[in-house]
Amino acid sequence: MLQINDLTVAYSNVPVFTDLSVNFSPGKITGIIGPNGAGKSTLIKGTLGLVRRSGNATLNGTAINRVRQKIAYVEQRAALDLTFPISVFEVVLTGTYGKLGLFKSPGRKEKELATDALKQVNLSEFKNRQIGELSGGQLQRVFVARAIVQQADVVILDEPFVGIDMKSEEEIMNVLRGWRDAGKTIIVVHHDLNKVAAYFDELLIMNHGVIDHGPVATVYTQENMARAFSADLSAVLFNKRAGA
């Protein structure tokens, strides 16, 4: 189980959230939703120690820093330089670097893993393409393939469905469901509220802290969404007239 205890993250002395505690269970796909600026991505970065934070995060009782190879992180794509001289296959192969450690190069075993992962996301024919030659959806599948070769117990994806086609979205969801069925812990930062019920087993609803956390059927309510988004979303999300 991934446990986050009393996590506090601040940017320029302005706290994004304070003393946030939450547990993520294995064998579940958990969606993290909330308005822009609610701290969803910051929660992920704080958990992984990618930003300054206080509090701690553990996986099955061990500090995250000591079990990093058991966690795969698929970050938002926007920050990457897509002109970088690297092929699709090479990007997927970088998923093996964590377990290889320093000074060792990927061998036959690692290359087979990468080949299999590309097959799983239906991108084998693109393996020699430079990554900038792919569409947004294909690119996202490449990063999911990289997470596959990491063979992690926990997979965290930050807005994986932004700007991608339906085919890619469905293929990524199929991979996530496969991971879930294999007992992995899957966490997805997500913004499209219409797909919440279809995609996730559990939800963490945030707005500078936890609004609610639990099974979708229990926590995905008009009240919680109104609290998180400071607006009545019932007409949009629950097919009801506002205020009814």
Partner: protein, 286 residues
């Protein structure tokens, strides 16, 4: 104009010319390799900063009578640390911190060198004098080339992933700061080696231009390293030939040849050159 045959003849007779050619080729190769990582990491300005910041180190080492490499590396690393410190402890952006630190170091170095040496030597440090390469210079250049090759070979995947996707590298637990500062140390070593061939002012051109040229020709990092070091070596050979035959300063001659190779590549490179882009436009119109 002295012909190539005469240049080759002189090369066979004069030790100083042989040493100059070997030093220039080695510097071309090492700056091509390290320069590839510098431009891919968006650190061209940092390369410029480090190369200028070694000047006070060279001066202090000269005054104390210690190896120039030690003084230069010390000041290069101090500059890299200071730039990181200023950028992360203020609202200032990285390029602003670089501008402040390297200009201050360069100014300090200029004054120290002026106090320690004659203006002729300062000119050589700033613009290079490859024809005065000694045997010990040649040896130290060879050692630095070996260090560069071993560093890149041993840490290729770490350099690749921190250049492409640093957040991912951090997420699996790689200490990206060590890779960054390791690269800065190697960069200062390359800079000092290049002092005599192209000089402090122009070393940044040898770091950036061959690597940028290679970037236009290939989509694979490994090939980019080979093409970049090849362009660096060819520019060094042709530049040295021009320097010897036309009596030009070696640094500017080498850098100009590198720039001409870039210009040609900019026009004809198959994927990213101007001609290729015109071809794509014509296909779209058809």
């Amino acid at each position: 104009m002295t012909s190539i045959v005469e240049f080759l003849h002189a090369l066979g007779h004069y030790n100083f010319l042989q040493s100059a050619l070997m030093a220039a080729i080695m510097v071309g190769i090492m700056s091509g390799i390290i320069g590839s990582f510098i431009i891919l990491r968006g650190m061209s300005l940092m390369g410029d900063a480090i190369s200028h910041s070694v000047l006070p180190g060279v001066a202090v080492a000269y005054m104390l009578g210690v190896n120039l490499m030690i003084g230069a590396t010390t000041f290069g690393v101090i500059a890299a640390l200071l730039i990181g410190f200023v950028a992360s402890n203020s609202k200032l952006k990285n390029d602003t911190a670089i501008g402040i630190v390297f200009s201050a170091f360069f100014a300090l170095g200029f004054i120290l060198i002026s106090m320690a040496e004659s203006s002729t030597n300062l000119h050589h440090i700033l613009f290079g004098n490859v024809l005065a390469v000694s045997d010990s210079d040649l040896l130290s250049t060879f050692v630095v080339l070996a260090i560069v090759i071993v560093f890149v070979f041993a840490l290729f995947k770490e350099l690749q992933i921190t250049s492409f996707d640093e957040v991912f590298a951090k997420s699996y637990g790689l200490n990206t700061s060590i890779i960054h500062y390791g690269l800065m140390i190697i960069l200062t070593l390359v800079t000092v080696s290049a002092l005599q061939t192209v000089g402090i002012i122009l070393i940044v051109a040898m770091l950036i231009t061959p690597a940028a040229t290679a970037f236009l020709w290939t989509n694979r990092l490994v090939y980019m390293l080979f093409v970049s070091s090849g362009v660096g070596a060819v520019a060094s050979i042709v530049g040295l030939y021009l320097s010897y035959t036309m009596n030009w300063a070696s640094g500017p001659a080498i850098v100009l040849v590198a720039a001409i190779i870039f210009l040609i590549s900019f026009v004809i490179a198959p994927k990213q050159g101007i001609l290729a882009k015109l071809g794509v436009k014509n296909v779209k119109k058809a």
